[in-house]
Symmetry: C2
Subunit: 481 residues, 2 copies
C-alpha cells in the first residue's frame, strides 16, 4: 500500500489518494474528507445543544445529511466562471449592410426568471432568488444561454447577501465573456419568523407581527459596461423586457431601501463567541453567554462549519452569524410535553354531534433530517356537543406551535397534534397538515413549488368515509375560495 | 502501464481503469466511454443529414453536448430504487391509545407538484411532468420525503410513455418501501407541432391547426395496495388532497382517453430502417426510403443512439421511433435563402413615417447546440408610409417560419428576421424574440419557467430612444392585456 498522486491522462492533477494493489485489483482507500468530518462534528454539537440524542435512529444520519447539503449549497466556492464559459462562446455575425444592433453586434440578450437558491450570510438560512440576466454581445461572440444560469449559480452557491450576489454575478460575467455590458436583477425572498419567539416554554407568546406565509422580499440590481448607466437606453431596453414578465424594476427602486437589514435575523446582536464584533469590542458581547455554556460551544461549532465550507468566519459580515444561527435554532429546543403544557380538558368521551373545523392555522417547524425549516398550514376537524363552546383557535395555535418548535418530521407532527387535541376534545379528530419543506427546494433536487400533505384521522374520522369527506370538502372550499 | 480493476475500500467494485505509475504519480488513462463515442457519431450523421457542416464552430461540440444531455436525461437506466430508499426509512410511531390512522401507522403522506422531465419513447422529444405521489406508511416506518421525488426521477429519466412512467413509479415505491399502498398521479405535457409541416421549401404551408404555444396534455394514474381500489376511502383522501392544489383527477378521468396517441408524432407510420414492425412485415415499410438514402442512415444512427442509452431499439414501443424522430428533425433541414424565398419588395429607402407593429407571431425552432426545440413569440416593429398597406401578418409569419426551420441560435434568428424584413420595408426595423428553450429545462440545470428575450434594432430604432421605447411599450401593453 502506498500514497500516490493521481493525474488524468491530460496531465491534470486530481488528488492524492491511497491505493493498494492486491490480486491485480486497485483498492482505493476512501477516507471521509476532512470538511465533512468537521461539519458532522459541529452538527452533533448543535443537536446535543438542542437537548436531542444524536444517536437516535431519526437523527443518526442527520450530521452527514446536513454536511452534504451544506457543501452542495456552497459548492460555488470551488467553481470559477472561466471554466464554465470556456468553449461556450460562439461566433455570431453582426449585421450585414445595415445600421443598428443585432446578433453578435450589440443585440441585447436577456434570460429571465432563473430560479436559484442561496444561503444568507447573516443567518445561514436559505433564500430564494429569481434571477434576470442580460448582456450586450461584443466582438461577434455570444455565450450559450445556459451558461448565464450556471455562472449565476456559482455565486449563489456561497454564503451571500442579495446585493453582493448581484454584484458578483455581474462582474463574473463581465470578466468571463467580455461583452459590451452586463445587467443583473435579482428578486430575493428570505424565510421569515424572527419576531415569532416560538419558544416552547411559552406557547402563547406568538407576536401579532407573525406572518409565517409571508417572506421578506427585496429587489437588487447591478450592471457594468454600457449598461452601467441606469438612465441610458440599454438599461431601459433591459428593464422593458423584464416588465413583460411582471418585474417592475423602477417601481421597486422607489420603495424605501431595506437592503442592509433584509435578513429578519440581522437585528439580533452580534457574536458572543469571543470573536470581535464590528464595533470592535468583544467584551460588550461576551456578557450574555459564558465560555462554559452550551450556547458558546454551539456558536463555536457554527464557526467551524463556516470555515469548513470555505468561507472566513472572521469576515465582517459573518461575525454575528454563529450567534444568530444558534439563537434561531434554539427556538426548536427539545422539551417535554408534561412539564410545559397545561391541558384544560382531557379524555372526554361523551358522544359529540356537531362537526367543527378550524382551518389554516399557521405552522413553522424544523426538519430533523436536514435541520431546515418547513412551514405551512394545519387544518383541524372535530366533533363537539351541540351548544358547547368550540375550542379556541388560539388554543389550537398553541398546540401547533408547541409541536412545531422542536426537531420534527411532518408525519409525527400530524399525529402528535391529533393525539393532543383528542385529550381535550375526545377521540374524533382529524388533522391535515400542508407544508413546504425547504429541504425539498434548497438542495440537490430543487423541487420548487412542491408541497407535502399528511393526514391523521382518529375515531369516527377513521371508521367511516362521511366525516372525513365532509372535513376534506370544507378544506377544499376554504382553499379555493 | 497496466489495466487493473478498482475497488473502493468498502469492497465495492468500481470499474476497470488503465493506470500507469510514473514517479509515484498514478496516471489514470481516460478514454472516452464507448456510449459517448457512439452517440457522438450518430449525432454527426444527423447533422450531415440536415445538410449542415458538422465542423463549423457553432456545431463542432454539438455531438458531445447532445450525447451528455441524452445520457443525463436517461441516467435512470443505471439507477435503482433500493439504493435510494436504503437508509432513508425512519421509525415513526403510530397512535398511542387511540383508534385511527396517523404517523407511521397508516396516516396518508402525499407530496404534490414535483416537476420532472422525461423523454417520449415515441419521438425522443422531452416531455414535462408534474408528479403527485402518495403512500400509506406501514410497520411504523416512513420514508424521507425527498426520496419520493428521487424515486420518481429514476423512472422519468428513461424513454417513457406517461402511463408506463406512472406504473413504474408506483411499483418501484411499492417494492422499495413496502407500505400499505402507493398512489401516483402524473400530469404530462408534450411539445406540440406535428401538424405544422414547417418545411422550408414551402414556408406558407402552416396548417390552421397550428398551436405552437399549446402542448398536448394528459393525466394518468397508477396505484397499488389499499390504494388500488380507486373507489375506496384512501383513494378519495388522496385525490382530495390533490384537489386542494387544483388537480381534479376525477374530472380528467371522464374526458375521452387520448392515452395511446398522446404523442403528436405517434401517428407517423413506423420504421423504415429494416427493423420489423409491430405488424410483422418489414417489407411494407421499407418502401418509403431506400437503404442508400441519407434518411436510412439517419434512422440507423438514431437506433444506435437508443441502444447506447441503454434501451432496446427493437422493443415494440421503440420500433417506429427512429423514423418519427428523423421525420421531425427534417423539418429543420438547412436550405438557402435565395433559392426558396421570393421577396415581394426590397431596399425601399424613402422616409416612412407611420409606426406599425405586429405582435405575438408564433415561433418554433431548433437549438443548434442541443438539437432541442425552442418556441415562443416574435414581435416586429417598423415604419411605413402613411396610407400605404402594412405588411401582411402571413408574410411575417412566413419569414419567421423560414428562419425557424433550421438549426438556430436565438440571437442569429432575431438578426436574420430583422435583416430580411428590412429588405422589404426599409431600414427602420425592430425585432424582439421571446422564447422558452427546452434545453434550459430538460437537462441538468432544469430552469423551469425561464425565458429568453433578444432584440435586434435597425436604423431609427437603434439611433434614438423614442422609436424603441414606443415599440417596447406597445408589446408591454399587449402582453399585460
Amino acid at each position: 500500500m502506498g500514497t500516490v498522486d493521481a493525474m488524468s491522462s491530460h496531465g491534470e492533477y486530481l488528488k492524492e489518494i491511497e491505493v493498494n494493489i492486491i490480486d491485480r485489483k486497485l483498492v482505493v482507500v476512501e477516507e471521509e474528507p476532512e470538511n465533512i468530518r468537521a461539519i458532522k462534528a459541529s452538527v452533533k454539537v448543535l443537536l446535543e445543544g438542542l437537548g436531542e440524542d444524536s444517536n437516535r435512529e431519526g437523527l443518526i444520519k442527520t450530521p452527514l445529511r446536513v454536511a452534504k447539503a451544506l457543501l452542495d449549497g456552497t459548492r460555488g466556492y470551488k467553481q470559477n466562471v472561466n471554466d464554465i464559459v470556456q468553449g461556450a462562446l460562439f461566433p455570431e455575425a453582426g449585421l450585414d449592410n445595415a445600421v443598428g444592433y443585432a446578433g453578435g453586434a450589440g443585440g441585447l440578450v436577456v434570460v429571465r426568471d432563473l430560479n436559484l437558491f442561496s444561503i444568507c450570510e447573516s443567518c445561514l438560512l436559505p433564500f430564494q432568488v429569481k434571477c434576470h440576466v442580460g448582456y450586450i454581445p461584443s466582438e461577434e461572440r455570444v455565450v450559450g444561454l445556459s451558461k448565464l444560469s450556471r455562472v449565476a449559480d456559482v455565486f449563489a452557491k456561497r454564503l451571500q447577501s442579495p446585493q453582493r450576489l448581484a454584484d458578483e454575478v455581474c462582474s463574473g460575467l463581465q470578466s468571463g465573456i467580455r461583452p459590451d455590458g452586463v445587467a443583473v436583477v435579482l428578486q430575493c425572498w428570505h424565510i421569515h419568523s424572527p419576531e415569532v419567539e416560538i419558544n416552547c416554554t411559552s406557547p402563547h407568546s406568538l407576536s401579532s407581527k407573525q406572518d409565517i406565509q409571508g417572506w421578506e422580499k427585496i429587489l437588487v440590481s447591478s450592471s457594468s459596461g454600457i449598461l452601467e448607466n441606469q438612465n441610458g437606453d440599454f438599461w431601459v431596453d433591459f428593464t422593458s423586457l423584464l416588465k413583460f414578465r411582471g418585474v417592475d424594476v423602477e417601481k421597486a427602486r422607489t420603495q424605501p431601501s431595506i437592503n442592509r437589514y433584509w435578513c429578519p435575523y440581522r437585528h439580533l446582536h452580534a457574536s458572543c463567541n469571543g470573536h470581535s464584533t464590528p464595533e470592535g469590542n468583544p467584551l460588550i458581547h461576551r456578557a450574555p453567554c459564558k465560555t462554559e455554556s452550551p450556547l458558546y460551544a454551539m456558536q463555536n461549532a457554527v464557526s467551524m462549519m463556516i470555515q469548513s465550507l470555505g468561507d472566513d468566519p472572521s469576515r465582517k459580515e459573518l461575525l454575528g452569524t454563529p450567534h444568530r444561527f444558534v439563537q434561531w435554532l434554539m427556538n426548536y429546543k427539545k422539551c417535554d410535553l408534561e412539564s410545559h403544557m397545561k391541558m384544560n380538558g382531557g379524555g372526554s368521551v361523551q358522544v359529540q354531534d356537531e362537526f367543527w373545523s378550524e382551518l389554516n392555522i399557521p405552522l413553522q417547524s424544523l426538519c430533523e433530517h436536514h435541520l431546515l425549516p418547513f412551514h405551512g398550514m394545519v387544518h383541524v376537524g372535530y366533533f363537539h356537543s351541540k351548544g358547547a363552546e368550540p375550542i379556541k383557535r388560539s388554543t389550537l395555535q398553541s398546540i401547533v406551535n408547541f409541536f412545531g418548535c422542536k426537531l420534527q418530521v411532518q408525519e409525527r407532527l400530524s399525529r402528535q397534534i391529533a393525539e393532543t387535541i383528542s385529550l381535550i376534545l375526545g377521540g374524533d379528530i382529524m388533522v391535515v397538515v400542508e407544508a413546504n419543506h425547504i429541504c425539498m427546494i434548497s438542495r440537490g433536487i430543487e423541487k420548487v413549488g412542491s408541497s407535502t400533505a399528511t393526514i391523521a384521522a382518529l375515531g369516527r374520522f377513521s371508521n367511516g368515509p362521511t366525516a372525513k369527506a365532509t372535513f376534506l370538502h370544507s378544506i377544499s372550499n376554504a382553499t379555493s375560495a
